[in-house]
Structures are given as C-alpha cells and as structure tokens.
C-alpha cells in the first residue's frame, strides 16, 4: 500500500509546490503601480456593468446533464471492457442492450434539439 501510494503523494507535493512557487514569484517580482483605469475589467474598451447579471444559454446546463449520463455510462463500460474475454458473447449481448438504452437517450436528446448549438 505504502509503496504504491507514496510516489503518488510525492508527485502531488511537487505538483503543488511548483505552481505555488511560480505564483509567489509572479505576485512579488513585478512592479506595483495600480491606477483606476488599469483596475477596470477589460472588456474591449466599453464600460463594464459587471458579470453578475449575465444571462447565459441553457445549452451549457443541458451539456452538463448529458455529461453526467454518458460519463456514468463510461464508468460502467470500464470493468466490463477489462473482463471482456471472460464474459464472452453473453457479456457482449448484455452490453449491447445497455448501450441500446443509451443510444435511444442520445437519439432522443438529438431529436429534441439538445445538441443544436446554432439555434
């Protein structure tokens, strides 16, 4: 257990330390000369009204929902794929049935227009 996970945590420690070091360098090395104009949000020169009340397309929400459905499908597929040869034809037929249900989901989402980004 230790022999397997110690290297991963060592890697994590380094992977956290490097960005923290870069971050500290970035925030200390440069000059500091804030002016009111410099501190405004950069939106191509037009006066900003802030980003709090921005209305966004519902497509982003739909994509997130679809992601949950299909990512869980992928999770079910992994152990099946790793044991594929032992399960044989029976396993394949069962997985085809499972994929069929998800295929119907995809077709339904497609026909309902959830995958239409241009409209």
């Amino acid at each position: 257990m230790f022999e397997v996970y110690f290297p991963v945590f060592l890697m994590l420690a380094i992977a956290v330390a490097v960005p923290c070091l870069l971050f500290t360098l970035a925030s200390t090395l440069g000059t500091k000369n804030p002016t009111p104009e410099k501190m405004l949000p950069y939106e191509s020169g037009s006066a900003s009204t802030g980003a709090q009340h921005l209305r966004l397309s519902v497509k982003f929400y739909l994509t997130a929902i679809l992601f949950v459905v299909f990512d869980i499908e992928a999770v079910f597929l992994y152990p099946w794929a790793a044991q594929f040869r032992e399960l044989g034809w029976a396993g394949l037929v069962e997985m085809v049935l499972f994929l069929l249900v998800l295929g119907v989901t995809l077709v339904y989402a497609w026909k309902k227009g959830a995958l239409e980004w241009e409209r």
Partner: protein, 467 residues
C-alpha cells in the same frame, strides 16, 4: 527491497518524469510552436532575444564552422589511419581485450579518441550557424522564449479589485497541478533488473533479484487515475472565468467547462476498445500486450484518430480553442490574468500537451517498445545481433546488455511522445479555429456515436477471431 533504495528509486523516477515534462517537452514544444507560427505568418520569429556576442566571434563564424568541418575531416582521416593499423595486425592481439577507455594501446586509443572527435565535430559544424542570429547568440530562438518567460514574471501583476481574490488566486494553481501529476502512472521503460545491469538477459522466463518497474506508481485503477486527475483541470478554467468579474472571462470559463466535460466523455469512450483488446486497465500491462503482439494504432486506427482529436479538444488548443478565442472574447477565461499568472496557464497547457502525448504513445504506439528489440537483445527475422568470437565482440556485448537496452527503450518512448506533441502543434498551425457549435457537434454527433460503434465492432471482431 530496502527502504533507502526504494526511496532513491522513487525520487529518481519522479524527477525523470517531471524533468522530461518540464525541462524537455515544454521548452521544445514552445520553441517548435514559435518557429511554426513564424513560418506560417511569415515573420522572423523568436530571434530578437539573445546574448550579444563579441565582434570577433561573429566575424569569424564561417571560419569557425569550416574549422569544425576541418577538424571532423582530420579526425576522420586519423581514425581511418588508426583503424588500418589495427587491422593490419599491429594491434590485432590486443584489440578490445584491454579496456577501451583505459587507452592502453596506442592505436586502440587513437581509434577511439579520433572517432569520437569526428562524430562530435560534424554536428557542431552543421548546428553552428543556427545558434546565432546576426550578432546575437539565440540557440535556435530558445533564448528568446526564455527571456519572454523572465519578462512576463517581472511585469506588473494586476488583480481586479472586483474579483473574488481567493478563487482568482487559486485558479491558476489548480490549472497547473493536474498537468504535472498526470505522469505518475505512465510507464516510461521496462522493468529494470538491478542485479544484471551489464549482462544479457534471457529472452524468456522470470528473473530473480531486485526489480524496479520504470513507472512512478502502478495504481490498480490504472488509467482511471488519468481521467480523475485530468478532469480536475476543468475546475482551473471554470474558476478563472467565474472569479474574474468579467463578462468575456465568464463566457470563456463556461465554454471551457462545457467543452471539456463533453470531450471527457469522448476520451473515456474512445479507448474502451483498447481495454477489451489489452484485457487490462493498467498502463504497464497495456504496453506489455503491445510488446507481445502489435502496436495499438495498427489494430485500432479509428480509436487513435478519435482519441487524438478528443485530447486536443480536451486541452483547448487550436482548432478547439473557442474558450480563449481572441477574435470573439479577447482571451477567454484567463483574460484578467497578467504577468506570471498568465504564463502559468500557458505553461499548464504545454504540460498537458506533453502528458497527453506520453499517454497516446503508451496507448497506441507501444510505449517504450522498440521493434526487433526484446529483453534478451536485438533480434530480427530469427537472426540475433551477436558478434561474439569476432574482433567486434564488444559491440554486440554492449548492444545486448540489459542497461543499454533499457536506455534505448526509454529514449524511444521520449522520442515517440516528442513527435506526437509536434504533430499536435503542426495541427494547431494548420487548421483555423472551429466555431463553438461545430466543436460541440463534433463531440456529440460524430465522435460519441463512432466510439460506441467502434466498441461493438471491436467486441464482435474479438469474439469471432478469438485474438
């Protein structure tokens, strides 16, 4: 294995994989990218930054180059002369029976030294003019990129007062951590048998003694680690967009999150046929299957194309860079970042290119596998590379020794990933940016159904042929 040795091996492995990512791939990719962009846009490229050289050196650059070639020619002649002396019988009895580097025998030593000098001076003569641009030492433009990084860190770091300070600071760190951590499960070489470093290993059978697998950690979840850690990169982009208090940044962050989760699904599904073939989720076992059979790209070319596309989209590079699309939303999710924090996003992107190239090399191109090179030595079409009993016995002895084979295989892995990263940069400078609706349609309407069909076809194929 003793604890001290385990610790040493771990530290060496971690520093190798991080060193290759940070010190080799990232600079080479940055340099290649800048040269590519200069070529495509017909600019001089990263040639302005450099160290000013003395007049004397610049004036005599051509002389230096000719000198290098001259040295190479002279050393080559002397090498031939020494070889001829050896072969005429003056040194036959002692040839290679004495240690070569010990330089006991004159002709023997001359052969070695002049051969090495000739081998160094030809590349030097070829490379020399490319190291300079006018009166500056630029090293192919590499110093320019280095100075750019130093310049970025010394610029003013602007934090917008309206931004959520904590999340705004956290985002670039979160974006970079997964990119550095992904290398942990990538096998970059075969198992190293410490007790038999300088011997020829038997091609079959188990080998006793201490063995070090050249992989930082062989986790039993295998490739799921890559998806789990890689998925955390989404948070970096989404947080940056959310915390900046800027409309463009918010739109960029949302686009990034939406695109990355979509292509995460594609990444996961396109490689399921590989698991069915390799019978495993562990990356080291996948490489072993490819060593025993064929490379993954031969049996799964469609999965390779789909996976390459999805991985370019996953790290948001052109043609999939709508989240940063500078013609629409200035710089997207990292719009409000300046100085070194902006550079951290750029660096994280190049680290991701490096790790995903390494992953593709492992999944589809046999990882550290070199054709005709097995554990027991070089062998092709039933003929082994074996010169024992001849004057050149030392050559095959060195070439078939365990440590040399392992070094060649690690080099092959590094080279494969380097070429794959360059391919992705080539794609970046060949294709224009796709529209955002095209990106999402490519994911949900093309890659996803194709990946599902590929799973079924592969399943039926495996069960029918029984491979």
């Amino acid at each position: 294995m003793e604890f001290g040795w385990f610790l040493l091996a771990t530290v060496l492995k971690v520093s190798f994989i991080l060193g290759v990512t940070v010190l080799l791939y990232a600079p080479v990719f940055v340099l290649f990218e800048r040269r590519q962009s200069a070529m495509v846009q017909d600019r001089i490229g990263p040639m302005m930054g450099g160290v000013k050289m003395p007049r004397l050196v610049i004036d005599h650059l051509q002389t230096l180059q000719m000198g290098a070639f001259g040295m190479a020619a002279l050393c080559g002649l002397l090498f031939l002369f020494a070889t001829a002396q050896v072969w005429q019988g003056n040194g036959t009895e002692v040839l290679f029976t004495e240690p070569v580097l010990g330089v006991r025998h004159t002709w023997n030593g001359m052969m070695f030294v002049f051969g090495a000098l000739a081998a160094v001076h030809v590349p030097l003569g070829v490379v020399l003019p490319y190291l300079f641009h006018h009166d500056r030492l630029t090293i192919f433009g590499g110093l320019h990129a280095l100075f750019d990084a130093i310049k970025a860190f010394t610029k003013e770091d602007v934090v917008p007062p309206e931004a959520d300070k904590f999340l705004f600071s956290l985002a670039p760190i979160i974006a970079m951590v997964p990119a550095l951590m992904l290398g942990a499960v990538i096998p970059f070489g075969p198992t190293l048998y410490v007790d038999y470093l300088f011997e020829q290993l038997p091609a079959e059978g188990t080998i006793g003694g201490a063995a070090i697998p050249l992989q930082v950690a062989s986790l039993n979840i295998g490739i799921l680690y890559m998806f789990a850690v890689g998925g955390a990169g989404i948070i970096g982009a989404a947080l940056a967009g959310y915390s900046s208090n800027n409309k463009f940044a918010l739109i960029g962050g949302l686009r990034a999150a939406s695109q990355m989760v979509s292509y995460e699904v594609c990444l996961g599904l396109t490689i399921v046929p590989l698991f069915m073939l390799y019978d495993s989720l562990l990356l080291d076992e996948m490489v072993q299957w490819q060593v025993d059979h064929v490379w993954g790209v031969v049996v799964q070319p469609i999965a390779f194309v789909l996976f390459l596309t999805a991985s370019i989209a996953e790290y948001k590079r052109v043609p999939f860079d709508a989240p940063e699309g500078e013609s629409e939303i200035v710089a997207g999710f990292f719009l409000e970042y300046s100085s070194g924090k902006w550079l951290m996003y750029m660096l994280a992107e190049f680290f991701e290119v490096a790790t995903s190239s390494m992953l593709i090399a492992v999944l589809f191109f046999g990882g550290w596998d070199v054709p005709f090179l097995g554990r027991g030595g070089w062998e092709a079409f039933g003929y082994a590379f074996d010169l024992s009993g001849t004057h050149w016995a030392i050559l095959s002895e060195v070439a078939n020794s365990h440590v040399f084979i392992v070094a060649v295989q690690i080099g092959a892995f590094v080279l494969k990933a380097l070429l794959l990263g360059m391919l992705s940069i080539q794609i970046r400078w060949t294709l224009p940016r796709f529209r955002y609706d095209q990106i999402m349609q490519l994911c949900w309407r093309m890659i996803l159904p194709l990946a599902l069909v590929n799973i079924l076809v592969t399943g039926i194929f495996i069960l029918l042929t029984g491979i």
